[in-house]
């Protein structure tokens, strides 16, 4: 097996599995901080809510740590050439993630879990806040690293070809990174909102834990609705124009646009056929793609055929991942928007069982949308590992064979199957136990 293909398969599998858990921690942490703070102010129900979500968070956190360790070391094991060349830049945000964010998050989670009766209520609330800050900082350093690979800035090339850090702040605070970060975080918060609302809906539909279930539904629906908007505008929109400006081939693949067009239409659905260079059975909105990408309905948008095929990312994967993300985002907006209206219209939402069912069943889909979004970002970056600077195929470890990687990939698959079963079992058991006072 080709080594770079095997390495990419292993990275894709391990990162997509790993990312399921940061979605949970980054998405739930603000809720925990909020409930813990209300609890510290004397709201007993909020304190129970905080304790319940902290348990779910802790399971996510443990699974995130266990699956995160291979991520950090995979740069060295499988992508040694990439690490040796660019480690002067990407090593730093990754090390900061380990040091600042990870210490903060794990230590204060310890206080949150074990320190409730040992520290003052407000100190407990601040611990929850710091756990939240830690998990969001963690996300920031990872996204900053990825954003540099998408749009490298603030670097210098040394005499021996190694890429060195020239300006740390330019790397960390590049506008590309900040818009990508806000998009990623609102998407995680959207998932958090749908998780909290979904579990609340589950309790209401099961006729148990009614008061706290309503509270979950209310908090989750409000956050979910706000984030369904923010994820599109401004964050998604700004991401899109960054891609149009810096990665036009990726944009063409995302939209399934093969021929350069003035007043390019937006394909709502359709099936790209990269071999024949056509989009089959499309439904178009005229001029919309030109407008979204460049703010001008008549602007020219370069199609894939404007570039050599060796510069194309895998078109079908990029296209479908993008359309899955956008399609699901639209559905999230519809569900949470409708739920929000019924919530504020005399609390009809709590009695509207069909909509509660929808909220419950929607729970897994923000995970799919988050993973699809990352698929667009990373698969769409191909054939580059660092956009315009280094090819993915040149980044693989020269001393590791495809067979070895395939073997370890199978090993990871086995290990993660066990871990996934364990995670589901523990999480479902906590949900079954519920936030009731009896389980304090």
């Amino acid at each position: 097996m080709d080594i770079a293909v095997a390495d990419r398969l292993q990275f894709a599998f391990t990162i997509m599995f790993h990312y399921l858990f940061p979605i949970g921690t980054m998405g739930l942490a603000p809720f925990i901080a909020w409930f813990t703070w209300r609890g510290a102010k004397g709201d007993a129900e909020a304190a129970r809510a905080a304790a319940f979500w902290t348990k779910i968070f802790a399971i996510n956190f443990a699974a995130g740590v266990v699956t995160g360790i291979p991520m950090e070391f995979q740069f060295g094991t499988n992508w040694a050439a990439f690490s040796a060349k660019t480690g002067g830049v990407i090593g730093q945000p990754l090390a900061m993630e380990g040091a600042f964010a990870f210490f903060l998050e794990s230590i204060f989670l310890g206080i949150l879990l074990y320190g409730k009766n040992r520290v003052a209520p407000m100190a407990h609330a601040y611990s929850a806040l710091l756990v939240c800050v830690g998990s969001w900082l963690s996300g920031f350093f990872i996204v900053a690293t990825d954003a540099w690979m998408q749009h490298p800035v603030g670097y210098a090339v040394a005499a021996d070809g190694r890429i060195e850090m020239a300006n740390l702040w330019a790397v960390l605070l590049s506008p590309f990174a900040l818009w990508q970060y806000t998009h990623v975080m609102t998407a995680a918060m959207l998932a958090g909102g749908f998780i909290v609302a979904g579990i609340g809906a589950y309790y209401l539909l099961s006729d148990r834990d009614l008061a706290i279930g309503r509270r979950f539904v209310r908090a989750g629906v409000i956050v979910g609705a706000i984030c369904s908007v923010l994820v599109v505008f401004p964050t998604g929109d700004r991401n899109g124009s960054d891609i149009a400006n810096y990665q036009p081939v990726k944009l063409a693949a995302m939209e399934g646009l093969f021929k350069s067009t003035k007043g390019a239409p937006l394909a709502i659905i359709g099936m790209p056929d990269s071999r024949n260079g056509t989009l089959l059975d499309p439904i178009f909105v005229p001029d919309l793609l030109s407008f979204l990408a460049y703010g001008n309905a008549r602007a020219n948008v370069n199609g894939l055929t404007a570039y050599a095929t060796e510069l194309w990312p895998p078109v079908e994967v990029t296209y479908y991942a993008y359309h899955v993300m956008v399609g699901l985002g639209t559905i999230f907006g519809a569900i949470s928007g409708l739920a929000l209206v019924l919530l504020f219209w005399g609390k009809r939402l709590y009695r509207t069982r069909w909509l509660l069912w929808l909220v419950l069943l929607a729970m897994p889909f923000p995970y799919i949308a988050n993973e699809a979004g990352w698929t667009v970002t990373e698969v769409g970056r191909q054939p580059w590992i660092v956009y315009g600077l280094m090819r993915t195929a040149a980044g693989a470890s020269p001393t590791v064979s495809g067979g070895e990687t395939l073997f370890t990939l199978i090993g990871f698959a086995g290990m993660y199957f066990l871990l996934g079963a364990l995670f589901l079992y523990l999480t479902l058991r906590e949900i079954g136990n519920g936030p009731g006072a009896a389980h304090e």
Binding site: A62, V65, V66, T67, G68, I69, P70, E72, F73, F75, G76, T77, W79, A80, A81, F82, S83, A84, T86, G87, G88, G91, Q92, L94, A95, M96, E97, G98, A99, F100, F102, F103, L104, S106, I107, F108, G110, I111, Y114, G115, R118, A123, R162, E164, M165, L168, S397, P398, T399, V400, E404, F407, T408, G411, M415, L418, L419, L422, Y425, L426
Partner: protein, 332 residues
């Protein structure tokens, strides 16, 4: 500058060895100090609040290696590909065993997880020791700094000797921690085990020192570093003496000093190389690629933040727990 980076890296990994050392060590000897299920469970509860935080130092150390010495990071991890991935699997499996054990109430599951916990921990220590042994012995590298040997090359007698010594040293460390933390029969057994483990560690230490001197005679470290093995020997003796006097807290401190001196001696032997070449091959040293100022400063900041935050955690959460010993729960 480069030496400062080396010291920081050694400090972070050293902290990892001292901290995760006791929980890996306790796991390795759990069947010796706990005869029954509840007794072995007390060993797990003794390290329950610590192990995750301890492993964070490994992650932080790995990140620091990446940021400070990318070339060594890339070469070492891709060169030791299979053993390294096995280490990752063992780390994961150990975490799973630890977290799962309490969730299944039946005897057969408990026995299974106990075995998985002990076996994966002991194997991890052995592999860490083998890796350290290979670092000291040197590895074959090509002109670009990539490993050219095989898996079999890494399993040489010298590296295995270092691995076994590491198992003995950390078992001793774990025993002192168990003696200090656990009440009742398991704690007593751990205390009785300390002098025996100290004797085994002494044998391993002497054999490893002799073998290291034979391998590295052409490239001896600075003279003052020879004080480190002497400190180690004194600390080892003290650990055994304190255990015989049943002063378990002092025994733990002595064992910590023993490990710290051992680790410092290994780091001093390695300096200024990170990945020495074997049999004349050029290795990768700390002067091959100067770490940038920002990398060094962020690593220093990370260590300071880490120590401060861990200090807060230690005083607020762990110290109160420390005052009470773990007891064997007879009515689970």
């Amino acid at each position: 500058m480069n030496s400062a980076a080396f010291v920081i890296l050694a400090f972070m990994l050293g902290i990892y060895v001292l901290l995760d050392g006791f929980d890996l060590g306790i796991a390795s000897i759990a069947p010796l100090i706990g005869r029954t299920g509840p007794e072995r469970e007390s060993a797990m509860r003794a390290i329950g609040p610590f192990w995750n935080g301890n492993e964070v130092w490994l992650i932080a150390g790995g990140g620091a290696l990446f940021a400070l010495f990318p070339k060594a990071y890339a070469s070492a991890f891709s060169g030791f590909y299979l053993p390294f991935v096995i280490v990752l699997w063992l780390l994961m499996f150990r975490g799973i065993a630890m977290e799962l054990r309490g969730h299944f109430a039946t005897r057969i599951w408990r026995d299974f997880w106990d075995f998985a916990f002990t076996a994966s921990s002991a194997l991890l220590v052995l592999l860490f020791g083998v890796a350290l042994g290979n670092l000291i012995r040197g590895v074959p590298l090509d002109a670009n700094g990539y490993f050219t040997g095989s898996f079999g090359f890494l399993l040489n007698p010298y590296a295995l000797l270092v691995g076994l010594t590491a198992v003995a040293a950390l078992a001793l460390h774990g025993a002192t921690f168990a003696a200090m933390r656990i009440d009742g029969a398991p704690g007593d057994r751990a205390t009785a085990l300390i002098p025996k483990l100290a004797a085994i560690a002494l044998l391993g230490f002497l054999a490893t020192s002799a073998a290291t001197a034979a391998i590295r005679w052409h490239d001896l470290p600075a003279t003052w570093t020879f004080a480190l093995p002497i400190v180690a020997l004194i600390a080892l003796g003290l650990a055994a003496r304190f255990a015989l006097a049943r002063r378990t807290r002092e025994a733990f401190v002595a064992s910590t000093a023993f490990l710290a001196a051992l680790f410092a001696a290994a780091a001093a032997t390695l300096y200024p190389m990170l990945l020495p070449g074997y049999a004349g091959a050029t290795g990768i040293g700390i002067f091959d690629a100067a770490p940038s100022t920002t990398a060094l400063l962020s690593a220093i900041a990370a260590v300071v933040v880490g120590v401060v935050v861990v200090g807060i955690y230690g005083t607020v959460v762990l110290l109160p727990q420390f005052r009470e010993k773990v007891t064997v729960n007879l009515n689970p």
